[in-house]
Amino acid sequence: MSKTYYDPADLRKFGSITEWSEELGTKFFDYYGKVFEEGALTAREKSLIALAVSHVVKCPYCIDAYTKDGLQRGVTKEEMMEAVHVGAAIESGATLVHGVQMMNKYNKLSM
């Protein structure tokens, strides 16, 4: 048994989740593949969105995967870091906007 919860080598084994549930695994990977195809958004734009989301959901596997994917697409480190900041801004905004709820509650309870 691995001594850590995350092992970088597990990323390569991602496809093996299908072995324990073929139908759902296959459907997921088909969907996943389709999502990242060129469409109204370019595959490059999708890769940067995925990188930002990877940071927000704090998935080390996804961060490894989409940093490498970005490099393969010629994405620069400046572009990658800006994408991470977009994710961080939304995430911190999501925290801070709850401040309004706190203010509402405060005001309601206060005389």
Binding site: T42, A43, K68, L71, Q72, R73
Partner: protein, 351 residues
């Protein structure tokens, strides 16, 4: 930043047997990953056989003015191996009667061979149709004696293929050495100025993109679009095609993979990206590679691993195209580099 070849540094990887050992041990010996031979046996492509011969690729020597980190030749200013005029004369005899239509001159920096210009002119005289020169670009600006190379190329209608790892300075200099980007830009502008790379021009200028690190090249067409846009907007440079070439795990790139602890992941990435469709078009099926000493190989990578062609004919002095066309091509784990994704060759993707 490296400044010396593996050979000069007396690195253990300067020994090809050590490289072959690494490529056969570990994940391949344990069966974690299939060997290339097993993989192509699945689609009945083993032994791999040649198709129509189209290209003679000649390595004019390992001397180069640059020391690129990913160089599979381990070329550099400290390498003194240079093809002699005598071997060139033997090559010319072969060129006279070969079925190949193209001569692909590489190195090192092929222009640094003192008989380079003579050889190019003689090769046309004996009937070769096209000559490609793999120019590193900076050679043109490295010394006064090379300043007129663009004119020489133009006069002989040479097809130029040049490396350019990125359209930004940082990435280019990291892979190819400090100052390489600026010099390359200047050289490209000079080539444009004499007519190379312009839309509709028959003076062909293509660029080669090698990833600057332990990752595979992305889609060649979209990379080409990005390169064209950036080079035109930032530097007013034009070129024809972009060839995306995968770095093969040999020589200095293998050294880098091991030192950066990326070797296993990179081999996994290559094997995962294995595309059976690419196998039938790999460049060793239409090319013969000739070393500075006149030895014959299936490709430039096999040359660097000293895996000479199978069969009786092994040297240019005993060249026999009929016998060579019947040979079995030698494959090893590095060959996964040519079958990953859309495939990779000296002419870029193969599918």
């Amino acid at each position: 930043m490296i400044t010396k070849s593996l050979k000069k540094r007396e690195s253990e990887l300067a020994n090809v047997n050590r490289q072959l050992e690494i490529l056969s041990n570990g994940i391949f010996k344990s069966g974690e990953l299939p060997t290339f031979k097993d993989k192509i046996s699945e689609i009945d492509q083993f032994p791999l056989k040649p198709r129509q011969l189209e290209i003679l690729q000649i390595n004019l020597g390992y001397m180069c003015n640059q020391v690129c980190e990913h160089c599979h030749v381990d070329a550099g200013p400290d390498r003194k191996e240079i093809m002699t005029k005598e071997i060139m004369e033997q090559c010319l005899k072969v060129i006279k009667s070969t079925a190949a239509h193209t001569l692909d001159l590489t190195g090192g920096a092929p222009e640094m061979n003192p008989n380079f210009r003579w050889f190019v002119e003689e090769a046309f005289k004996v009937g070769i149709k096209d000559i490609i020169v793999r120019s590193n670009l900076t050679i043109i600006r490295s010394n006064k004696k090379y300043y007129d190379l663009p004119e020489f190329f133009k006069k002989n209608n040479i097809h130029i293929v040049s490396s350019m790892p990125h359209w930004t300075r940082g990435k280019t200099d990291k892979q190819r050495g400090e100052g390489v980007f600026n010099k390359s830009i200047k050289a490209l502008q000079e080539l444009n100025a004499v007519g190379y790379g312009l839309p509709g021009s028959n003076l062909r200028l293509d660029l080669v993109y090698n990833p600057s690190g332990a990752f595979l090249p992305g889609d060649q067409t979209s990379m080409e679009k990005d390169f064209k846009k950036a080079l035109l907007e930032d530097f007013n440079i034009q070129f024809h095609d972009l060839f995306a070439i995968t770095n093969l795990p040999i020589s200095r790139f293998l050294d880098y993979l091991i030192a950066s602890e990326n070797y296993e992941d990179y081999m996994y990435a290559l094997v995962d990206a294995y595309n059976p469709e690419a196998v039938k078009n790999v460049m060793c099926t239409n090319t013969i590679s000739i070393s500075w000493e006149g030895w014959l190989y299936d490709c430039d990578f096999n040359q660097m691993l000293d895996l000479k062609v199978e069969g009786k004919v092994k040297h240019i002095k005993e060249y026999n195209e009929d016998l060579l066309q019947n040979r079995n091509i030698r494959v090893f784990q590095h060959c996964y580099g040519c079958t990953a994704g859309a495939g990779s060759s000296c002419q870029g993707s193969v599918i």
